[in-house]
């Protein structure tokens, strides 16, 4: 059993964290052939039949496709779509834990198999996805991610934005249902701050 790591090994940890944070925050379009090859390899590893692939531009569009495929019909309910959140693999956003396994596999004297390489390829090249017998619903990565103080934040629009225009409105990490709701909240907070200043200076 390994009970400690060397200074040299420890010194490489920040490199892994930086590399995998960049993978997780990537907004480049998915390399679809590589994403499909990696997921196909994961099916093969688990001895599942080779799947076919369908792609959507966002996790929200993907969740609907997944719900439709699961149900075997087009007219799915909001509850059926919402149920897909529990069944999603988050692709690139899973990079945080893959960094740990990659470090262990690549830097420590342990037995390494091909699985870590498959998982690395998936997080590098695929967004959120859903897995079925014979089919995978893949989705693209976001086209923009805005942070402030390491929390999702954009006072002027979507903080997390997808190609199809869907995404998340957020201020300092708190999500809002719409730009209108977020703007109102911003104005209320500004008014409260102004009121407090006026009272304090009176």
């Amino acid at each position: 059993m390994i009970t400690s790591i060397t200074k040299e090994q420890e010194a490489k940890i920040p490199q892994y964290l930086e590399e995998y944070l960049a993978i997780g925050l990537s907004t480049t379009p998915c390399d679809r052939p590589r994403a499909e090859a990696a997921i196909r390899a994961s099916y093969s590893y688990l001895k599942y039949d080779e799947p076919e692939f369908v792609w959507a531009d966002s996790p929200y569009a993907g969740a609907k496709l997944a719900a439709q495929y699961a149900a075997g019909r087009k007219d799915v309910t909001p509850e059926e779509i919402a149920a897909q959140k529990e069944k999603a693999s988050f692709g690139s956003f899973e990079a945080y834990w893959v960094s740990f396994y990659a470090f262990v596999a690549e830097q420590l004297p342990v037995q390494k198999d091909e699985l870590i390489d498959i998982v690395k390829e998936i997080v590098k090249h695929c967004g959120v996805y859903w897995t079925f017998d014979g089919r995978v619903v893949c989705t693209e990565k976001p086209v923009a991610i805005h942070f402030k103080d390491k929390k999702l934040h954009n006072p002027n629009g979507l903080a997390l934005e997808y190609k199809d225009g869907s995404g998340i409105f957020a201020l300092y990490g708190k999500a809002y249902a719409s730009l209108l709701e977020m703007t109102i909240q911003k104005e209320v907070e500004a008014a409260n701050t102004d009121g407090r200043r006026s009272r304090e200076s009176a």
Partner: protein
């Protein structure tokens, strides 16, 4: 209903990467906290949670 697999990446993480014997000789307590309290962990997990909340 068509057959849907569990969250496949979690299957790899829990049932394979960690318990298949590949890494059992590594005591993860040594430094896993460095990874699991990092900006990488915090920022990406926050995004995952935010996306999941919006799937409705």
């Amino acid at each position: 209903m068509r057959k849907q697999y569990s969250v496949m990446l979690h299957v790899f993480r829990i049932e394979h990467l960690f318990s298949r014997g590949v890494y059992v000789d590594y005591d993860s307590k040594v430094d896993s906290n460095i990874f699991y309290t990092s900006d990488c962990d915090n920022q990406l997990r926050r995004i995952k949670i935010a996306i999941a909340k919006e799937i409705k």
